[in-house]
Amino acid sequence: MKNEGLIYRISGPVVTAINMKAAMYDVVRVGTEGLMGEVIELHGDKAVIQVYEDTSGIRPGEVVVNTGETLSVSLGPGLLTQIYDGIQRPLPTLEKEMGVFLTRGVDADAFDLEKIWTFEPQVAVGDTVTGGQVVGHVQETDTIVHKIMVVPGKGGVVKSIESGDFNVTQTICTFEDGSEMQMLQEWPVRTPRPYQQKYPPVIPLVTGMRILDFLFPLAKGGAAGIPGPFGSGKTVTQQSLAKYSDAQLVVYIGCGERGNEMTEVLDEFPHLIDPNTGKPLMERTVMIANTSNMPVAAREASVYTGITIAEYYRDMGYDVALMADSTSRWAEAMREISSRLEEMPGEEGYPAYLSTRIAEFYERAGRVETLNGEDGSITVIGAVSPPGGDISEPVSQGTLRIVKVFWGLDAGLARQRHFPAINWLNSYSLYPQSLDQWFRDNIAQDFPEIRIELSGLLQIESELQEIVQLVGSDALPVDQQLTLEVARMIREYFLQQNGFHEVDAYCDINLQYKMAKAILAFQESAKAAMASGAQLGDVVNVPSRSDLMRGRLNKGYIDTIDDMVKTMLDEIAATVEDN
């Protein structure tokens, strides 16, 4: 058989070719327009291909050419600040070629191959280098130094290497065996990039969102799932994480969701400053936008494109955070393709391998020792969109089996405009044990204990609420009424955080701690005052308490909060004398 065959059948995004030499995951060019596709199944002399562009108008008998390559991403300096479709075509280039509507049959380089970068070697002639080892670097953006690594599996004794100005396709290093290396490299998207070993996660990904950092922390190298019905805040949460978390690099995948949400990110990010570095956010970001109306096969590929880029920067020793909004749309893309293949379906029509694919994807997260001997990590945060908000469905369940953090969004809270609408009673993180030492060493010795106190109070509140529903709150003893008041303070002052507020959207972890302490200080002084005869109503209504609570909306709160707490405690103490 030859590398060229003919189209036998077209059924939506799935095309069957005959008489073509093919192996699984080969990239092929379909039809007279040369649409890009990938071999996903072999049947006798037939190769089944998923096509990354719209197939209408294509006919049986048109030619299919096998490129013999596997679906790969291009890696090298120039990735950052880009926005790609699911198969790594830059959307700005597509706009230039096609206008505002995405037509088809256009190829585009992933980044500018002509751009000149100033390369600085880090190894010398005569050194032996191996796969993954860093041979030099270029300054990719103001914040990110792009390390140039030997392709895993390659290497040798360096014959020549020099500093100077190169584009990504020029040779920067030659080896004694005659092989050469350029800055541009390709990596097959469906194959995880290798590393030396996985480390346990012991450092938190600090997000600036109080409910996440304090109650349900995520580790660098960990994985979190955010399931929630529509309108509950998956996208806003993911975007906040992209903006404020202390990852060094962010890969943001808009997978089968709204076009306008990507536009919003594109409009916003260039003007936003990374609170951790003070530099424009865009400089640490790579975006992938394969929206709901773009081809489903490319949607299926988009998460792999994204995670491969993330691994590449991890291998340079960076902490990368990857958001996928929404993994359910990725799973649905698998389901659509699978049903065209007439595969035996598993639950709810999803392919039987769904949970394996989900697990394999999240397994590409982790904190690792890179081939170059450095620490790098990928933290994966996947949004899940369960039908009707019911998480008993296969995608939610497949995700929950593998991730260690569950941030459960709640339609009821969203309806009460309690944002982020993360349900504090059923969400969980399995990381606190491994992260507590970090919190003790870096924030406060008693950080873990404070967390436990806060979540305990919320727990008690939910039990008391059941009684209140039956008899009204006035029927409770005053100490329990105080507990309700404290819990309310936790919810309204601490847990609620408007993702769009110019000040409060991001909360420094040290400030989070101070706010948590302020709540407990209120509780303690209120108890003491009431024990000495003060009235509950007087204690909770001291004006300085609402000043304290509102203060978080002002800049510089971290400097004023201590004084505000002190004023509040004085006023509470004074309620005893007033009596």
Binding site: I83, G259, M262, E348, R417
Partner: protein, 459 residues
């Protein structure tokens, strides 16, 4: 370029026709079927191979037998477009229904439509005043948004859609909307209601109607919204119009999708609807918006009726996952005699933040909207409690909130079908109504707005 006629039908099943031994037929190609009695039906290729071609027949397969002649038309479905469309009424397959001449094409456009490059979109931000307080204050509509009405059978969603079509205007400029109306499987009575209203107000001259009624072919409904959106895209992005697309009823559209899926023996997703329904709906809803370098815009108002009033049903559920919010109509409010019976609590406009405030509506809008919402939500919740413990058990704050929830429905929500309230009137009304609550309980209102707008401080 039409080809040879084939008589190679092997099977007919539901809306599908299977045939073999044809020329190489394109995926998505348009097909003409000639029945032995001379009737012509139309269809589209769903699956094509050397051996077998599957065609979905828009008009249904009644009377089709193995003798029927099948001609492949050589191209995918295209709509002739020109500004002559304006003022016309077409059927669900794009043929004149008003007795007028065929549309003289300035160009023809593929009805599937290409996706807008996300990089090429412009963010919507122009506030549209609908004159309906509940929408303008709580779920503000933006030009270029897709905001569906989640309704149910027997509720006045059509009146609301028409009121919006009549009253929608920009506060910032006097640019007008062109309405593209797309009927999918609605009754003749409903259609006449729409048409009469558009005619009476003169809007019909500035509208394009695509009409597939309940007794028209069900499968045709698959293409009707695509025709409407193709016309809308042409008018918006080639001719600079601001287009308001109203389509109703999405539930009938989805049922047609389900019918085809079943005939193909596809593995169904939830409740028998196809697994690709999300993508399919997205390919309609995502055709709203604004794009770089073009003046016009497409704003979408899809109407859907929730089967069994169930918002978790796949049709509203998948829609809600794609659209930029939803306006939810409540049977309870309707039964209480309130028009428009909009339940603001589950309603949402995701783009509201981008279109309200000092420059576009009024500086206090956000604050007022948050407070109205919060007070109503609390008041509504208290209704449940009062039913158990009685009103006497409530404290002063709760009593005021409870009372407010009634006032909210009676004075704020309720307005007549022809009452067109400006956004200032709406916001002033909010202040008047909220003044029944002690200011110390109105914690979401900024003090500076209380000083400026509260009735006590205005006199």
């Amino acid at each position: 370029m039409t080809g040879k006629e084939y008589r190679t039908i092997t099977d007919v099943k539901g809306p599908l026709v299977f045939l073999n031994k044809t020329e190489p037929v394109a995926f998505g190609e348009i097909v003409s079927l000639r029945l032995s009695n001379g009737t012509i039906k139309n269809g589209q290729v769903l699956d094509t191979s050397d051996d077998l071609v599957i065609v979905q027949v828009f008009e249904g397969t009644a009377k089709i037998d193995r003798e029927a002649g099948v001609t492949f038309m050589g191209d995918v479905f295209k709509l002739p477009v020109s500004t002559d469309l304006i003022g016309r009424i077409l059927d669900g397959a794009g043929r004149p229904r008003d007795g007028g001449p065929d549309i003289v094409a300035e160009e023809t456009a593929d009805i599937i439509g290409a996706a807008i490059n996300p990089y090429s979109r412009r963010s919507p931000h122009d506030f549209i005043q609908t004159g309906i307080s509940a929408i303008d204050c709580c779920t503000s509509l933006v030009r270029g948004q897709k905001l569906p009405i989640f309704s149910a059978s027997g509720l006045p969603h059509n009146d609301i859609a028409l009121q919006i079509a009549r009253q929608a205007k920009l506060t910032a400029s006097d640019e007008e909307f062109i309405v593209v109306f797309c009927a999918m499987g609605i009754t003749a009575e409903e259609y006449n209601f729409f048409r009469a209203d558009l005619e009476r107000t003169g809007a019909l001259e500035n509208a394009v109607l695509f009409v597939n009624l309940a007794d028209d072919p069900a499968v045709e409904r698959i293409i009707t919204p695509r025709l409407a959106l193709t016309a809308a895209e042409y008018l918006a992005f080639e001719k600079d119009y601001h287009v308001l697309v109203i389509y109703t009823d999405m539930t009938n559209y989805c049922d047609a999708l389900r019918q085809i899926g079943a005939a193909r023996e596809e593995v169904p997703g939830r409740r028998g609807y196809p697994g690709y329904m999300y993508t399919d709906l997205a390919m309609l809803y995502e055709r709203a918006g604004l794009v770089k370098g073009k003046k016009g815009s497409i704003t979408q108002f899809p109407i859907l009726t929730m089967p069994g009033d169930d918002i978790t049903h796949p049709i509203p559920d998948l829609s809600g996952y794609i659209t930029e919010g939803q306006i939810v109509i409540s049977r309870e409010l309707h039964q209480a005699g309130i028009y428009p019976p909009i339940n603001v609590l589950p309603s949402l406009s995701r783009l509201m933040g981008s279109c309200i405030g000092e420059k576009t509506t009024r500086e206090d809008h956000k604050s007022v909207s948050d407070q109205m919402y919060a007070a109503y939500a609390q008041g509504r919740e208290l209704r449940g409690l009062v039913a158990i413990v009685g009103e006497d058990a409530l404290n002063e704050r709760d009593k005021q909130l409870l009372e407010f929830s009634g006032v909210f429905e009676d004075k704020f929500l309720r307005q007549s079908r022809y009452e067109d309230r400006s956004i200032e009137e709406t916001l002033d009304l909010c202040w008047t109504l909220m003044s029944s609550i002690d200011t110390k309980y109105l914690v979401r209102l900024d003090q500076k707005w209380i000083d400026k707008y509260h009735p006590d401080n205005r006199e």
